[in-house]
Amino acid sequence: MSETELDPRVAPSFPKAAKASLRDAQLRANVRRATDTIQAKRHKLVEEKKDWQELRESARQIRAHVLEHLRVYLEEFERNFTRAGGHVHWARNDREAQEIVVAIAKEAGADEVIKIKSMTTEEIHLNDALEAAGIHAYETDLAELIIQLGHDRPSHIVVPALHKNRAQIREIFLREMHLTELGENPADLAEAARKFLREKFLRVQTAVSGANFLIAETGGVCIVESEGNGRMCLTLPETLISVVGIEKVIPRFADLEVFLQVLARSATGERMNPYNSIWSGVTPGDGPRNMHVVLLDNARTAVLADSEGRQTLQCIRCAACLNACPVYRQTGGHAYGSVYAGPIGAILTPQLMEMQHGESLPYASSLCGACYEVCPVKINIPEVLIHLRNKVVAQKGWYAPEALAMKAMASVFRSERRFRAAQRLARMAQLPLARRDLPIVGQDAPTGQDSGSGWVKWLPGIFGGWTQTRDLRAIPRESFREWWESRLT
């Protein structure tokens, strides 16, 4: 699967790419194994957290509040970060962001940079732009290093190399690090990465990162990570450039008390990430002297303007929805043709492309709702998927090629026969429970979450146990699938 293009403008449609993935038994086994492990860890830690639902609700409210007041918080962040000695730049699109980063790196005299894993820099294909300007970027996150050395592409938001197993990683390291000997335990592989990168940490004077959160009140930047490569990059160099989507801002330092708790548990199934770093601008004698934040729009304002799609921007990139998604678990990440894979990718990518590319992605889902159930900021992904399908249909008509091609995807969904049977059963069982003023799938779904109508808080018997869903959308009388298939046959 190397050299898979993750640019929605040129990537093959999901059904086509997924078919190729489905034939790769090794890839499917690796993805299945990794997502099983991470889900089990997450499940255990979410269960022990008695106030999980309350945390989720606060996280959702804070993120929704930020989006409604985005301008206020961005300006506040800019003011405070600048006052603390940092520089803030604004980029309308990927090209502008690339140019800004290249210009800063050149001014710093850099011909190489060290990088902290960042989805945003992947989104704008920054490494290619740096390379074209004669600046080599070293990825320092272990998984990103595996991807870079293997000339591969990330397939997961949090664990980008989860489609590779230890034997494959060992092969890549042996070849690319020119080693003659290397054990095959994960610890041996991590040790090899440590040695390979240490010299770069001590030498390279310019670093590039993303950020998990920007804090408006303090002009703060927060990065969470595991390995310490992030700390190396954000502490040792002279210059640090952080490329951050405009939606990443949070109002106050105190709001971290919510996000740090939900993020680690959702992302890696840990109570806390091994390392969280928070800083505000420049601190003389401690860390980089030149601190830059590049605020990236790249169609986020268009998503913001769509009242039904807007909740997509609440995302904190934990990847829990990928791990839980029966489609992702079958196909892996590359099939999504974007750096954002899985359910969040299926809704984010087409919107970031202003519905010009990636139109098959909203169909890459069975609408089972598992993504919504695990999402720590309660993004109703199925609702947005349906909204986007309507947009595709409005643009291209009912026989949109993307939608038709999904029929060929039956193999992905087939394993979910049990799911569909349960879905029908649930429809019968819920009759007395849900109000009947449901939207008919295929028409506009209601906006906003927990709006009351059509929401089933409790389901009896088999269905309740089957999904462990806490807050489940009432099942439409006809599922999208059934309805779609009936149209075609």
Binding site: T235, E257, P274, L304
Partner: protein, 212 residues
Amino acid sequence: MSSAREEILARIRQACSGDAESAAASYAEITRQYQQAAKLSREEILGLLTERLIEYDAHVYRARETEIAALCRELFARRGAKRIVVPGDLPGAWQSGAEFVADEDLDARELDRFDGVMTAATLAIAETGTIVLQNAHAQGRRAISLVPDYHLCVVREQDVVETVVEGMRLLEATRHLPTTLFSGPSATADIEMTRIKGVHGPRFVDIVILGA
């Protein structure tokens, strides 16, 4: 550049109506029903912190002020650590059992040649096994507790809280300082989702919980 800024802000203004006045009121309405205060006793909290840190593969010791010098000698000997970098304001009474060098703008390569680092901490969070370091008293700048492979960190009993919420609220007062939260030695789960200890940050961590 400024035109990109103006254009983005204008697009946001078009998309949402929220302004500075409505922001304050709307922020105040956010519900926070999650656990905020501690539920455990002091001894249980210290026990929980110890348990969590050990889970992460850190070693944990308890000592009183009068015992700390002897404990340090023992730990440095056990770790084979002879040259230790310390922040200039680390209490002298703690510095025993190694050659101590006060950090004065040492560069990264010099830091890399130390066997270890010894610092205090701002606070610790028991629930998550987290230690908080800030560029504040006896903790030094971030690089010194990052580059050396061994970290001996002293946290005072009175600075241990139970929940993340309590911890973050205590940090409010010094929220502008560079802050690092660490939960155990550096780790990765990037290979087959197995947590393995030790990548770039300190691979060996000893925590001393210091009683009065």
